[in-house]
Assembly symmetry: D2
């Protein structure tokens, strides 16, 4: 309710600031009896970690997660799982010059207006660093969903700045610094290099998919699965748009085209993106998000200071020239958290056993 | 939590089915002492009402709202405001043929899979008719926000099917059946007529704006203002995409362009759509949504029945060939509900008085 | 969150005022597929109904419940169940004299202080009449729990004013106007008659029991089963104390006595009242509540008016001289609502199947 | 929702186990701009700390609190305040003998039944040690309420086992190990010594008071102030009963006696305990709780093991022979958390400024 807890039954309460002693989260509602250790979580944290290529912030954080509670002899006990990540590489001196001014496009201004006080060190609470606990919690959700339903999550970048990225195969995603699903990423390397030289930044488009979805997740009218996905994604730093299935393209579609035909073997298409009436169809969840360009850039820009006097802002320090680059594992985690919460909600009302119905084994053209 | 309540402090609990005796909602948390009568609510309900032009469903519902509680001698008392709307024109016989089959693109399938039972009369709970209580609740929120902060809400259609709609003036919106912000809507009339003849349907794009926004609304990390807007909008029937500010266009923008410069007179642009770091800047909230084509169409389509046998579906009955046409007042209401809830949340944590700061009177180029 | 919703997964949102057009509630989260009709609910409403003996208010309300939604062809659909009860016998003229003054011991004062406005007709929102929707919702919960787990709920009065009521058998409870578990209630009749003549009122103690409880309901630390029972009971109008199991008597007990020994056949005693560490043991839930004397009495008392001037208050109108008399079915309903919510919460986190463990068939001396 | 978060607007999410690496909590919703440092919190933690007299567990824990987030340059920023307390003196070997058996009166049995797994070290999650984070969070709430409204919290023990404790003065409470409000505590020392020799334990009764209460806190029908107090108190380990104001004594009172008369100078009595209709009157909140005897005792008792075979249980290790002794600061903290949450809820709906009304300066006979 107060803005730092995600989910209702599998709830994640996030805490910390970019340059405070530590960040972390408390996961409440994890089912008991699941094997869990730090390594299960560390893998996704490492994918999100800064400093792994020249295209992301050079802040060097190991992002080593520690489980403080909720696990006994390697198994979840059903009690809260507290996860702690120490901040080790804070260089707060870099931020002295932004203490009295507001970066255009940054939360500096709104945090100050809301609270009358803000922690300026590294962006404080508004730093993208605070997505690390979300990724950690998402790893726990992913593990449970995979073991329980066989549901898995994948993401990739589909556009960087003006450059669309062709989808060749999920296999490429782990082998380049952009989470690009294609073999040759030289063009993107060059693009990022020129951008960095120009002291500028760019946006990105990310696609996230859940495969092996249980049918029937989502609540009618308000807590719809698609609504909660949109909530999760738009809440990710720098996101300005969310699409499910055909997304904005559905505006120009006809009903005869858009509606995914059903056959005894499954759906013929997936314009719905796996959600109808707010409830999962069992098809892949298909989500696409737009990420704006980073607001912390070297190029000077007009702004005002805390006394509302005109000034010019130049942001030094270590920043991602394209925050979208590290967004893929975060978006996966958020999607997993939404599905996890709805899986438990569904179980509460409708029980574990799915409605008996003639099988629709899969969807054609997934 | 169970899917039919919107908001936490100004909460709206929705109930009813398309062809049951009545629909309605309970608004909890409305501040006391505000003048309120049925007419305050009826105006927006009438804008959403079916049967007002040949381009929408011919179901004839007066949608007369009755206040059952929470108002004493014309003023809100701070206790729950229950709103009731009788269903008067149910023709359930029209739906007999869809009882055993699933319309492609419709929630028939997922409701049945989730609950093992569904009310097929008029789409039951998944009918767009259930947006009427949302509109009614939104009218209450709009009234309070206008009186308290001067905040107002406007919406219009910006695309219908393949046809973009030029923005000329807000003044046109109330004078045509499409909520189009332009004087000449003949092309859209013709388009809809041809679509209806073809037994097909189309999508739409809607823009919603809040003007006179208080600064500082929104909570960090998860209950962000933009996240809650996305949640609200994606939860509206048939919505497949949501944008705030520059939206998907921000992917191809540079940081030097996207970041809205601040001047002592206000922001120079509004790429942020009025939200930075999840918190309102005081600029207009700018939201755009994509609505898919109606799934209930006359053209025959492949589907399956409840025994998973192949069949062909033709939907008779009265349906909107473009559900987007009536979506504008609903989207306005949803935006008002989000802002209202955040206004109360902000007041809880930070108090009524805004942070003292040199005034930024408006934004240039709103 | 805003004070008029009970429960999180089986949630009940209450609305209405004593002399408004109607009262009611919306139940959200009821599992689908359960048979439900008005008669299932009416039975408990009739037990709570006013005007059934000379010892309760003579207001004549049929309290006929109408199901507005959530049920299709006699079965719950998993969507919100809206229940409506018309107010038919309002005599608001009786309350004219209390509009400007505050009855000692009544919520008149606090409602006015909180909201700056209050509906004085029949106590408005603070009237015990608003327990009717709670009873109606409780009847739905009772039905599900009985069918699913065999859990049943019983209540009785154990003290009226100074007079303790001996427990002889549950069978007597339905055969006297006091819900007394004994055959001879003449003494209580006489007591109430003398009280009424004196223009005074008295308190009562009520006992409520749940039998056939599933083991394992309740969440650790905060949302404990006993905590939620206390919340539910203390929230009932006029309740000033709640005990579970040995209650206040446990203060003077020793650990060797209080701790209920376990045997392969079950627990030897039930000092715990069926809850250990906030989680149900499977034994009977044993709850006891203290209800204060009615504040609306004929005897004149010192008070102040809205201008803070001294005045004398005499309450005319129709009131219960002992609100405790009608409290038994309400307390049962509240206990059922708590158990229901926890049953769904448990199912969400731990699934439907209980932990496999050697059977403990019952408890001795239940 | 999942059982480990207290409060809705000032929410406290608790984590940790008795013998894990650390315990703590995350406070969300604290208003910004309040001075806060570890010392502000440590004072109350030290009052609750084990090992301070021979009458409490000899576990030696410094309970040093560390603020991980939410405070910048000594002031709260409005973002989550994470508090960490390391566990330093775990001696898990003491608990080996209880791993396979269930202590009568202990949560061993129910945790195992609920989750199918439990952390047996020191009671794991069910240990009274987990009240430390509650006390820490309560200290933050107390500070804000004192600075904002002048509200203060006091508690004392009013009965230990069979021995009532006379109220002489609040001044004595801090000068004896029992939180007794009297000068001479020798009888209680002797009583505890004899109990310890007998390998037995006893209960206690605690009184908690809030003074300087704002009027108007509490929501109607369900989230009543008294209901939430009962929830908070009954959720404290070992509590079996809660009273507000006259409590169970009100059963035998008459309406003419119980209803607190109002005069222009204030209320004449406080039978209501500061709450009418679920809303604060501005008088002192008066709460009383019953604490059962500790279940972990040296005396052998009948029980069963995990295979449901009969066995005898003797609890070694370090335990409080009367858990009530350390309960006073915890009960104060819980009361403060309830008032804090309601203060923010009230502000959300009704704003900061109280309703204008002729002053009622205080209550007679407080």
């Amino acid at each position: 309710m107060s803005g730092n807890t995600f989910g209702t039954l599998f709830s994640v309460t996030n805490f910390g600031e970019s340059h405070g002693p530590a960040i972390g989260c408390v996961i409440d509602g994890c089912p008991p009896g699941m094997s869990l250790c730090e390594a299960d979580i560390q893998h996704d944290l490492d994918r999100r970690r800064p400093g792994t290529s020249r295209h992301v912030t050079q802040r060097n954080e190991p992002d080593q997660v520690q489980i403080l509670s909720g696990v006994y002899e390697g198994k979840t006990t059903g009690t809260p799982i507290a996860l702690l990540i120490q901040n080790t590489d804070q260089r707060s001196k870099d931020y002295g010059n932004i203490l009295q001014t507001f970066r255009p496009g940054h939360a500096d201004y709104t945090y100050f207006q809301k609270f009358g006080i803000r922690d300026p060190r590294g962006g404080g609470r508004s730093s993208a660093r605070l997505t690390a606990p979300t990724v950690a919690a998402g790893a726990v959700a992913k593990k449970w969903l995979k073991e329980k339903y066989g549901t898995t999550f994948h993401g990739c970048m589909t556009q960087i700045g003006e450059l669309p990225i062709p989808f060749e195969s999920w296999d490429h995603v782990g082998h380049n610094p952009f989470y690009a699903p294609c073999a040759d990423v030289q063009a993107f390397e060059d693009y990022m290099d020129s951008l960095r030289k120009a002291g500028d930044s760019c946006g990105a488009r990310i696609r996230v998919v859940a495969t092996g979805m249980p049918v029937g997740l989502g609540q009618p009218i308000y807590d719809r699965l698609d609504a909660n996905i949109a909530y999760a994604m738009m809440g990710l730093n720098a996101v300005k748009g969310v699409e499910i299935g055909a997304g904005f393209a559905s505006v120009a579609q006809r009903g005869t085209t858009h509606g995914d035909s059903l056959t005894p073997e499954g759906f013929r298409t997936n314009n719905s993106g796996g959600v109808l009436g707010g409830i999962s169809t069992g098809q892949d969840l298909e989500v696409s998000i737009a990420i704006k360009p980073t607001s912390s850039i070297l190029s000077p820009r007009d702004s005002i200071d805390q006394n509302s006097q005109p000034t010019e802002v130049v942001t030094k320090g270590r920043h991602d020239p394209c925050v979208g680059i590290r967004a893929t594992p975060i978006a996966e985690a958020l999607l997993a958290l939404v599905v996890m919460d709805h899986a438990l909600l569904h179980r509460a009302q409708c029980g574990d056993v799915q409605v008996a119905m003639p099988a629709i084994p899969g969807h054609i053209g997934a």
